[in-house]
């Protein structure tokens, strides 16, 4: 297996990069979408049951089913991967962002307004920093999940390490079948744990000092 990995080191590195870059970009996109929706939901409370319904029902839908529903719309390749990964990544962040933003006390919002902050400034300097730890927890869940979802999305010829798992499946019985599937699976686990570590470190630096007891 060592020989197998060494032989394909450039390909492995490239696929790992693709996989991580897909997940990171999709999670970033998902964070922006989810926080925006959460902001909407917290300002219009009537929408909250809808958001909760979407985030619990959405996570129930199996990724292969969503992929199947998506393919006729977006075709095969990178696009379905992006769509599916972003969809699943957005849900835990949305859930946590709603809880986090709701947790910001109304008194603080009033004081911010009293100090002359406009809504944008209030969001950036008061709401977001206070809700950030909870949002970040959702982000970590999303990232871990996305690493696995990205592997599945490779079934529709998406980028990343998932391709090797399906190569292994297609070549089953062949000399390198196990090597392909095993290397890809281990690489995904290792990369997922590394990303999680990175997010923890990010938490250290980005969680406001005042609330990180």
């Amino acid at each position: 297996m060592l020989e197998f990995v060494l032989d394909r080191a450039p390909d492995l590195a490239y696929r790992s990069f693709q996989h991580v870059s897909l997940v990171v970009q999709c999670v970033l996109l998902a964070t922006v979408i989810a926080v925006a929706v959460a902001l909407l939901v917290t300002t219009v409370p009537r929408l909250k049951p809808v958001a909760n319904f979407v985030s619990s029902v959405g996570l129930t839908v199996p990724s292969l089913a969503l992929l199947g529903l998506m393919l006729p719309v977006v075709g095969i390749g990178t696009l379905p991967s992006v769509a599916v990964v972003t969809f699943y990544a957005a849900l835990p962040i949305l859930r946590n962002a709603v809880v986090g933003l709701e947790g910001v006390s109304g008194n603080l919002l009033e004081s911010a307004r009293g100090m002359g902050m406009n809504p944008l400034l209030t969001f950036l300097r008061v709401q977001l920093p206070l809700a950030w730890p909870v949002i970040l927890a959702g982000l970590r869940v999303s990232t871990q999940m996305s690493m696995g979802v990205a592997a599945i999305a490779a079934y529709a010829l998406g980028p990343g390490l998932g391709g090797w798992i399906f190569t292994g499946l297609a070549q089953i019985g062949g000399q390198n079948a196990v090597n392909y599937a095993l290397t890809a699976t281990i690489a995904i686990v290792v990369l997922a744990l590394l990303l999680d570590l990175l997010l923890r470190v990010l938490g250290r630096f980005t969680i406001s000092r005042g609330i990180s007891a």
């Binding site: 839908v61 199996p62 292969l64 969503l66 199947g68 909870v134 871990q144 690493m147 998932g162 499946l169």
Partner: protein, 271 residues
């Protein structure tokens, strides 16, 4: 769950919800839950009904008609459900006893280690585990059930441990003081009180299993996933969409059944 465990939370609301929300299941049925309990079957009925009308009236070509034959779909639906049920049963029969064992005084110290190891396993992509197991042990239903069970094991184990640890120790002591044996304390005090949390784990396991069962077709273990692979290989969008829709509806129904189970299992005094 505490937000600093390095796990991808299983795809349900419970584990990702921060601290304050977790005990919700042990309180009265909230409006959100009620919405889901009534909304889910309604949504499924609409989706399934709409699809059935389309299927009955649409003009399908030869390939589509064959891959979407009623008999075949019913058979695949049944296979999918069987895979889900078998693996959920396997998980319940192994993870709950293990969780109970790990919260007994003798083994209490081993619990964090076991959970950490299980966490590591959970980071592995389901599809990789399934295919590797199939390479190792061969294709077929038993291997699929094994893979699904492995994947769904952790949430039940973790919730069993958390649920039992959450039982007020003074109650346990009081029961012991009343002369109850350790076994009857477990059966009559600890388990009933921990049941809502354990059942939330079981529902998570069911949802994970039904989703992962879609991959069973890759290792010749049947299930609705084959509708999607057929649609992809034969380039028939109608088949692809039907497959996705049917799997999604099945998953939603299983989730709903889990929610009902959760509600029914909560002891009366705790509702």
């Amino acid at each position: 769950m505490s937000s600093d465990t390095a796990t991808p939370a299983p795809p349900t609301d419970t584990p990702t919800a921060p601290q304050g929300e977790r005990s919700r299941s042990s309180r009265r049925v909230s409006r959100d839950d009620l919405g889901l309990l009534l909304g889910l079957p309604a949504l499924c009925a609409v989706l399934l009904g709409g699809w059935a009308v389309w299927r009955a009236t649409a003009e399908l070509d030869d390939i589509e008609a064959r891959s979407l034959a009623w008999g075949l779909l019913v058979q695949l639906f049944g296979e999918h459900l069987l895979l889900t049920a078998l693996s959920a049963a396997a998980v319940v029969l192994t993870a709950i006893p293990l969780g109970i064992a790990l919260t007994r005084p003798a083994a209490r110290r081993a619990a964090p280690a076991v959970v950490t190891v299980a966490n590591f396993g959970q980071a592995a992509p389901a599809i990789g585990i399934l295919i590797l197991l199939a390479m190792w042990l061969g294709f077929g239903v038993p291997v699929a059930v094994l893979a699904l069970s492995l994947y769904a094991f952790l949430p039940v184990l973790q919730n069993t441990i958390v649920g039992l640890q959450g039982v007020d120790q003074t109650l346990v002591e009081a029961a012991r003081g009343m002369g109850m044996s350790r076994w009857s304390v477990l059966g009559r005090i600890e388990l009933p009180l921990a049941l809502p949390v354990i059942m939330a784990g079981v529902r998570t396991a069911l949802v994970l299993a039904v989703g992962t069962a879609a991959f069973a077709t890759f290792i010749n273990a049947g299930g609705l996933g084959s509708v999607i692979t057929t649609g992809l290989y034969l380039f028939r969008n109608s088949v692809l969409i039907s497959g996705g829709l049917l799997i999604a509806v099945l998953a939603l129904l299983v989730d709903w059944a889990g929610r009902v189970l959760e509600l029914v299992a909560t002891p009366k005094g705790m509702r």
